[in-house]
Each structure stands twice: as C-alpha cells, then as structure tokens.
C-alpha cells in the first residue's frame, strides 16, 4: 500500500495541467468561480474540446471510447480539472445512460447512441422521478403499452434536470401493471422532440430554472429504443443509481470549494483581522478539511482497494451521504463568510454601477447557492434512503 504517484503518474499530471492551461476556453474562466449559471453552450464548448482530445469519457471501457486510464490517472484527472476550476460535465449521458447502454444495450443502440454522447451531439435527461414516486421510485406509474413495433407512453415525470436542453431522455416506465413493482418496469430511450412531450419549468429556491416537469401524452416510442429486456428495466436503473452516487461524492470539487471559502475569509474583515483569523471560523474550515480528508481516503480505498474492480456497491451510499453534507457545509460557510452581503438578491440588481457596487462579487450568489445546494441531500436517492440502504445492505439489518 502506498499513496505516491509513480514517475509515469507525475508525467501524466503534467500533461493534464499543460493541456488544461492551453485548451480551457478563456470565456469560461471565472464563470464557475463566480457561481454563474451556465448555458447549454458553456457546457458544450468544454465537452467538445475534451471529445476532440479523446478525454471525454475516462470511465468508459476503451472499446467504447474510454481513455484506458488507471484509477490513479482518473483520480489525477478529476483533481486537476477541479483545481483548474473547469466546469463540470453533464452526467446524464456520460456517467448515466452511456454506461447503461454499453452494459445492457443492443449493438445497434451502442453504435448509434454512444458516439453521439461522446461528441456532445445529444444532450440527455433522466426521467425517473414522478410526482407520486420519489424515494419510492419503484411505484412509478408512467405506462408504456405495446402497439405494433412501438410503445405508447403516458404519464408524468418531474424534477427532470435540464430537460429544457435535452435531445433525448432515458425513462423508467411501467410495462406490466400486474407484476411485482420492480418486475414490471422497462428502460426506454425517448426522443424529447417526440410529439406528445411537454416540458414545463420548475423554479427552485435560488431562482434557477434547473428542473422541469415532463408530461408524456400518447408518445410513440419504437420498441427498438428499449434497453435490455422488457420488464427488466429495474436492473438498469439500479446499476445506474450506484454510478450516480459515486460521482456525487465530489471530493475534488469540494477541495476547490474550500480554497474558495478560504480566499473569501482572507478578504473579509473581522475587526482589524481577516475573518480566517477568527478562531471560530477557522475551526469550521479545519473541520471541513478533516471531514473531506476522511471522505477522500474512503473514496480512494474503494477506487484502488481490493474490491476496486467490482464496481460501485452499496458502500457508495457512504460517499453520497458524506460528500453531499460537505457540499452543503461549504455553501453554508460561504454564506456565513460574506456577512451582510448574503442578503442582496443578484437577480434583482439593476445595471452595473462600479462607483456604487452592491457588495463583493463573490457574495452575489452565496445565498442562492446555499439554498440550491439543499438539493444534494435530496436527489440521487435522499440521504435518509442512503442510510436505509447501508442499514440493510451493509449492516444486514
């Protein structure tokens, strides 16, 4: 056991740093820093640069377009992109439906969809949750009824992240009403431009348009767009949920987040000293660093330990719980750091007036981000559900 990078790893690290320095788009720089909301184009610019380089899907098997990197190289990659504050890539294609398709899809599905995910040509959204089926996902009611070579789909999905940008969605639908809940579900890929689909915005607490309701009314979907067997969609869903949970730990991004909080606390004054010199505040930052180290080494053990090849299991719930709590504490500390200037609502600012600024730039999104980040303990399976999973699957209760 050791935690040193080999000379090859160090060379790789340098290569990554150089690549980012030379290729990360200037117009995106700082956008993440100020916590601006990013447009679809913002996401795609960086996506396409990485695709061109062949680095868009480090986690995928090489045969489907992966990089063939070792776990250490992938670790370096996520560290370096977070350190440089590169915008995050949308997970719905790359981290979710992509792996489902290469694991369970037909040769035709693989040939058609995987290259388009890699290139960024298709933007994907995740149609799982319904108004009546959140934590109890398996109770979902959106129904697909066979009709010749197609299904006719009816129902309503909700909380669908960035569906307003989506070209395609992967949906869980009920194909057998009489079977046991989990055994009557199928996994469908649906063109979001299909007639009968309506996407309606839901505005979240920080004022963002990030999630949507998706209504499906007599939507015709070719059966060739079902992944895996009919009524076996739950297998795909569970596989994907575990994948979703590891990504959620967000260690590298939280490291960067701590650096940002420290930078703010070095600027903000508390009496005649920087806020970071305040013992209470400093202790909270230190607490976060310690907890983040614990999360990081727990993740590293699962990535590079004896069970590394087994794929994410129920212990990924631990990463999700601790990772999401840390993300929330970071936003809370940021809000605390900016003091009075957490209150102004940035969407309400009039035209810029440099002579009469409304607080420092880093304060403008502190409160909305804090509000918005309450989501991390709710989505991807709430933290209560994750604890239930650990209790049942890990502790055997």
């Amino acid at each position: 056991m050791d935690m040193e990078f080999s000379p090859e790893d160090l060379a790789f690290q340098q290569e990554v740093r150089d690549f980012i320095a030379e290729n990360y788009p200037a117009e995106l720089r700082g956008k993440q820093d100020e916590g601006e909301e990013l447009s679809k184009e913002d996401f795609l610019v960086w996506h396409k640069i990485l695709h061109k380089k062949g680095w868009i899907a480090p986690a995928w098997p090489v045969e489907y377009g992966g990089t063939g990197w070792t776990p250490t190289q992938r670790f370096i990659w996520s560290e370096e992109t977070a350190r440089a504050d590169c915008i995050r890539l949308m997970p719905f294609g790359l981290a979710m439906v992509g792996p489902v398709i290469y694991t369970f899809g037909t040769p035709e599905q693989k040939a058609h969809f995987l290259p388009r995910i890699l290139s960024g040509e298709d933007w994907w959204c995740q149609g799982y949750s319904e108004p009546g089926s959140g934590s109890d996902l398996a109770s979902l009611r959106t129904a697909a009824v066979p009709d010749g070579d197609d299904y006719i789909v009816n129902g309503q999905k909700t909380w669908t992240t960035l569906a307003q940008h989506a070209d395609w969605g992967f949906f869980l639908v009920r194909t057998d009403k009489d079977a046991k809940q989990q055994e009557g579900i199928s996994f469908l890929l649906i063109d979001m431009k299909s007639p009968g689909i309506t996407v309606r915005p839901i505005i979240t607490l920080g004022g963002e348009h990030e999630v949507n309701e998706v209504w499906l009314e007599d939507v015709r979907v070719p059966q060739s767009q079902r992944v895996y067997e009919e009524n076996k969609g739950w297998t795909c869903a569970k596989f994907l949920l575990a994948h979703e949970r590891t990504g959620i730990a967000g260690v590298a991004a939280s490291k960067r987040g701590i650096e940002k909080v420290k930078a703010i606390a070095r600027t903000e004054l508390d009496g005649d000293k920087p806020l970071l010199a305040n013992a209470f505040f400093k202790r909270k930052v230190a607490d976060l660093e310690v907890d983040l180290a614990a999360l990081e080494f727990t993740e590293l053990r699962s990535l590079a330990g004896p069970n590394a090849n087994r794929g994410p299991g129920p212990e990924s719930s631990l990463l999700k719980i601790k990772g999401s709590e840390i993300q929330q504490r970071l936003t809370e500390l940021t809000l605390e750091a900016v003091g009075h200037y957490g209150a102004p609502y940035f969407r309400g600012f009039g035209e810029g007036d440099n002579e009469h600024p409304i607080g420092p730039d880093y304060a403008h999104r502190a409160a909305p981000t804090y509000f918005n980040t309450r989501k991390t303990t709710i989505y991807g399976g709430s933290n209560e559900i994750q604890r239930n999973i650990i209790a049942k699957m890990v502790l055997g209760l």
């Binding site: 934590s135 508390d270 009039g350 409160a367 309450r374 709710i378 604890r387």
Partner: protein, 379 residues
Amino acid sequence: MDFTYTETQDMIRDTLARFLGDTYDFETRQKFINSDSGRDPAIWTALAQELGMLGAPFAEEHGGLGGGALENAIVMEELGKVIGIEPYLPTVVIAGGALKAVGGAQADAFIPEIIAGNAIIAFAYAEPQGRYDLANLRTTAKKDGAGYVLNGHKGVVYAAPWATHLLVTARTGGNQRDRDGVSLFLIDANLPGIVRRDYPTVDGNRASEIYFENVAIPADALLGGEGAGLPLIEQVVDEATVAVCAEATGVMQKLHEGTLEYTQQRKQFGVPIAKFQVLQHRMVDMFMEVEQARSMTIMGTLKLGLPANERMAAVSAAKAKVARGANFVGQNAIQTHGGIGITQELAIGHYFKRSTMIESQFGSADHHMDRYERIALAD
C-alpha cells in the same frame, strides 16, 4: 413570577393574527413582493390606522397602546408567521426605541408620526468592512456651522427604498473602531447628496446601498449626546435582536407545522412518510427547537431592562440559541419535504429563506456566543 400574557397583549396578538390571516396569505404576499415597489402600502396604513398596531410599544400620551418590548415581540412573531415584510422592526422597534430612550421634543415630534403610519424609518448602521461590530464605522458626520456634513457608505439597509427617514450611525470623532465618537442621527431620507441603489433581498424584502455624499444635516437630527451614542445604539440593537428572535419563533413554528402537515399527507412506500421513525424524531427535534426559541425570546425580552452587561449576555444567549435553532429547523423542513421543498412554489422554501437570513441578522451565532463568553465567562 408570571409567564402569562395580559388581556391587552392577547388582544394585540388576536387582532393582528386575524388581520394578517385576511390580508397576508402566501399568494398575496408573493404578488406584492414581486411588484415594482415590493410592498402593498395599504397594509402599513391599515396596521397603523385600523389596528393601531404601530403604537403597540409606545406610551399612551403619544397615542400608543402603552406597551413595550413584549408587545413588540408579539407583533414580530405574528409577522414571522406570515413572513411579513412590513418595516415594523426598523421603524417601530429600532427608531421608535431610540426615540423612546431619548425622549423630549424629538420623541414628541416623531412618535406620533410613526404611530399614524406616516413615517417609515430605515436603520442605516452596517458598513461593508464592519461585519457585526456596531462601532466599526467609516461614515463620518463632521460639524459644519450649526449642523453636520455626512459622508460614507451603508450596506444592505433593509426597507430603505420605502423610507421617509433614515436612522444613521456615524462618527463624529475617534478612530474607525473606537467606542467613543459614535453618534446617532435621524434624518430625512431624501436629503440632497443621498445616493441609493435599491434591490430585492433573497428573503423577499427590499434594501439599499446608501452613499452619503456631503449630505448637510441639521443639528437637531442628532439623537442623544454627540460622540456618546454607542450605548444607546447597543441598547436599541439588543431590543431589535430579541424582536428578531420573536420573528424567528413565528417563522420556525410555521416551518415545523408545515413539515408536520406535509409528512402526514405525503405517501411513499404506501404510508404517510410521517410514519418513518427517523422523520418523527427529526420533527420532535424541530419542535424542541421552536419551543426553546420561544423560551429564549421571552428570556431575552424580559432581561432588556437589566444593566448593560446582563442585558447583553441575555440577548446574545437568546440570539445564539435562536440562530442555531433556525438553522436546524429551516434545513430540516426542506430536507423532510424532499424535492418539493426546494421550489419557489411552496411557501415552505420562502420561510426557509427568511429563517436563513435571520440567523445572521444583528450577528451570527458565533458572534453572539463570542459576546456571551466575553461577558458571562469573564474572570
């Protein structure tokens, strides 16, 4: 010892609750906070003229109801229950409190105007560099003939866009963080040289950055002694701090009730989610925080009249406890609602936003624990 309310106090609460129940439902509130002016002035007028509510803490000879801090707490708690944005805190509690404390001609002139609903007074005290330190001031008021000339920048002044007057803290002497040399002025909000940048706040209020650029103010704008204003300001801010604790109690009660109600309706896995013991215990913890917030508000309010050090320790104890309780109750109300909790559609999220801003209003939990320690644990 008696912890019951008087008949008049019960009447104030009931009258106000009934009025707000009729006029201040969530949809109506959303409509006026999103309007250009961000408020419905008719409500303020009605509070003054129909209910006489703006006279709650003032003496009868000024036309008030003869109450004090407890009456303020009652009003603030009811406003908290509807996440009200009425500028009762700066106008009645803070400016009214300062005027009551100084008395004399200034009180005689202004208090009736407050009670009648004619004056809205914003409290311009915070500065970008000052955090929660009331004495950390760069704003200066320089003697100039009979009056003063005001220069400086006040940040995040709640209710300033609506204000007829401003209550301003400024230095008439001393260095930036000295206790001496601080003065308090009550001035017309529209004097030449006052530049305002107005904006909405995340909790549905309106506020401004205020820049004073060589503003000439008259000598009689000074409240209390020149350069000796800090004790008065501290006292008034302590009164405001417990009033905010009272508001928090109302907000937290609604967050808790809303959560109880929602979990009994919302079904997952075939049962109301209120059946899950982990959520039950959480709601019990929330309930205990609400009860303790109420207790600490009363404790702080009753101790406002004690000598400064005891008063400050009590108020800081109250605010620290309430801030942490508000944090816990707010976060868990959202968590227990699941996805629906983080949307703008439900009232619960808006209560959460207000409870969040209350946490740091007049000082965060850390700030108040620090002040508490300095006083209560001093050797």
